[in-house]
Subunit: 267 residues, 4 copies
């Protein structure tokens, strides 16, 4: 190894990324367990403050089938048993469970984006408020850089997202990015992993809250593009995302150590 | 069933509404239990932050009699025993309990609106703040649509609502809608069920908080009327309201599983 | 009793006030216990968010002596043993305990206002923020009416309130009212009872928070004077104040049922 | 002692400072324990709300070595075992642990400021928001006076702080003060003790929140310099800082009495 004082910025960074890949822990939870943890960490951040709106879905084992939280169950009370599996037509595979009707538009996003593993759609307070004033998300601090050229904006609300037209519109608006601000409505994140969709949803609500306060207090100065894109690429490294997800998951498990028990009823 | 790709939007929605009616759970709690749960879920949302102002009432069994929380008891400590029954003249049927004097104006609303089962009047922080600046509630996101053409505004405060004049004014201002923003004062919701009055009160405070932040940060863009009215009609379906109420009730019961015990003293 | 429909507003109100005096519960806690409860309820409302600034004092048994929380003890950990007694020169009667130096200015207020029993001085976030922008408290909703012609404003900050000059200035600025907003500094309430000082301090912070949000979102419309003064007189009735205090006290005791134990060490 | 009425302001203050030095408690925790307590008190104030960004470091026993929280561990779950020791080149002395790459810039601050014992760098919500609008911290209330001529502002963000250039820039911007607002980024505090760095970080976030709300609601009036500097000197007295730190530490220990156990795993 060269003496530290002679190492270039590039050297230092690349050495660190190697160390990160070697030492960072991986996620050992099953996908259903990750969904429970994701639902609860989002609930802890206020994403289900308004009740039972919002959905979290992921591709299930069989093609064209999806995990989704049963309608009426709050994300803060999610357990493995609180999830159901639907097909593309939103029919419950178990014949009994009731899905949230808005889950239908998720299927459009999955069909158009084969790399997407998990979709989260919520109406948390700050995003919902930003959605009232027609401001796209602005990248103006380091943590917000995960959204640099990575958060689309759908300016017109197509109305209650129960049928197919909304699915077409939302899927098109996402345009291959990982996040979407839906005017008059809420947020959508589409991740290549459950961890990515969940952490992006948490951070999007946090940044929306910042943006509202910043707009009220002064004039927002965006981060220069080249710095934003470098920071985004670091913050979206799977090792960094997974460490953040595991940290939020430990918070969830500290609050309710038993939440992953297989047969536990929601409540 | 037709193949999914040939089904019209209308078909999809109607099929879902049938499924919703068939599968959604009903509320099995007694009315007194629902009042306890409603009081506590409102308290958890900050509706009694300022102490002992605010009332929650419902029609009791005998005509012209009403359940109301005893004056001095906070909504977060409500139990079945914390409620009393008054007549139209605000006399305690048990001869001992003290009602909140403002409960008097509720009787005016009940007399003028036979379909109203439950009335909630509170001064939660965001509604109270909106009431300071003379802004009616604006419908600018999907969740706010429950208030589309459904939230009146009383611009002049008649003063301390202890006697009859306030009852006449408030009852008239409601004008058959389910919600009312009282300038200089607070909110009133009047539901055909306890669940409806409670969820509307929770959502009204949440939307008032959104509106304050949105007004400070930018210019609010209202939702177009035809979309707002469709969303309102879905969100006010009794099955959707009841599922939201039951979810908020489970949160209450998780915090204090014993709160419905018949003889438990408040505190 | 006359039939309800023939009773005048005045009749209804007077009858209610008689009922209130007959039925409202009194405060049975000792003064030291009330101080512990007051300290903790203020802490729960964020009055000690910034650490160990702020004081709560009350006249002790011997003339010219005062209870005060020992310096370094947070209000959320107050116990009877956490209070000390000082004389007018801020000397600890026990010879050991350390008072907060700012307690000195309280003695000036006590000397100038024989009816004052308890003084609270804190820097809670919203009052502290209002104190940064030179806005006196505005009475623009029913709950704020307790401050109608009852909250003075000291526009110039005399600096760190450790010596006597600050006592003279603050005492003069209070001008016989029950509350004072200190520019660049915080709040002071001076009550004829511990319950009054405590509830006014809680409400002042809540109203300051409302005022900040209202100012950011629109133009505040003050309550007309005659309505404000009627509401103030109702809300300041000792029975109403005591019920609010007892409610806040029950919250404190639910959080830590053991906080009044005589020999319990703070922590 | 002279009669109180004849004592000068200076006399009163000096006598109090002597009493303070004689009676104030000292900090008996080891440095590693103080780091655990500091991490957790900052977490309780929201400094790790966004996940695993942020670092807390302190000089370790051997010159050029530093304690730092292992990357991926949240400050709210810190334990003695959650800390690692690195050298100046950010190499883990234990060969196994992974540091946060941004810890590298801390070493630049330590080298340039021999009196600095502890550095905290976080992105808490209000500071992060202030960092979006290019406003330096304004001293406009008594508690903010600790930052009078004591909080620098770095207007240009050098980008992701992983390599050496950021260390040079940040170290230079600090300019010997104890606090630094980093545009587009967050805060840094550099204390001569762990207690000082921690309390300043808590207060900086609180004052940033105040400033945002004050800016939205009106025009901020700064505190005159001579009063600000007197208050700063009092508030930064080691006895006052240590008492505040010990108070925040008791809160931490009340939440998790076992957090200082030597072999306890984070989580």
């Amino acid at each position: 190894m060269k003496p530290e004082t002679q190492r270039s910025e590039q050297d230092i960074k690349e050495a660190y990324y190697r160390e990160l890949r070697a030492k960072a822990p991986g996620i050992a939870y099953s996908e259903l367990e990750q969904l429970v943890l994701a639902a609860r960490m989002l609930a802890a951040e206020g994403h289900w403050a308004n009740g039972i709106a919002g959905q979290i879905t992921a591709r299930a084992e069989a093609p064209g089938t999806y995990y989704t939280l049963k309608f009426g169950i709050g994300a803060d009370e999610a357990t493995p048993d609180g999830f159901m599996v639907t097909n593309d037509a939103l029919q419950a595979l178990d014949g009994r469970s009731l899905p949230n009707p808005a889950t239908r538009f998720h299927t459009w996003v999955y069909r158009a984006n084969p790399e997407v593993k998990c979709i989260i759609h919520t109406h948390p307070p700050a995003v919902q408020t930003l959605a009232m004033i027609g401001q796209p998300l602005i990248v103006a601090n380091m943590d917000a850089c995960v959204f640099h050229d990575n958060c689309s904006y759908l300016e017109e609300w197509p109305g209650l997202p129960i049928a197919d037209e909304e699915g077409r519109i939302i899927s098109q608006a996402l345009a291959g990015r990982k996040a979407l601000l839906l005017a008059h409505h809420g947020l959508l994140t589409a991740g290549t992993s459950i961890a990515e969709a969940a952490t992006l949803a948490i951070w999007m609500e946090q940044q929306a809250a910042n943006q509202l306060r910043a707009s009220a207090a002064g004039t927002i100065r965006p981060v220069p593009d080249h710095l934003a894109s470098e920071a985004r690429d670091f913050l979206l490294k799977p090792q960094v995302i997974d460490m953040a997800f595991l940290y939020f998951a430990r918070r969830v498990l500290r609050d309710d150590p038993d939440c992953l028990a297989a047969n536990r009823q929601p409540a």
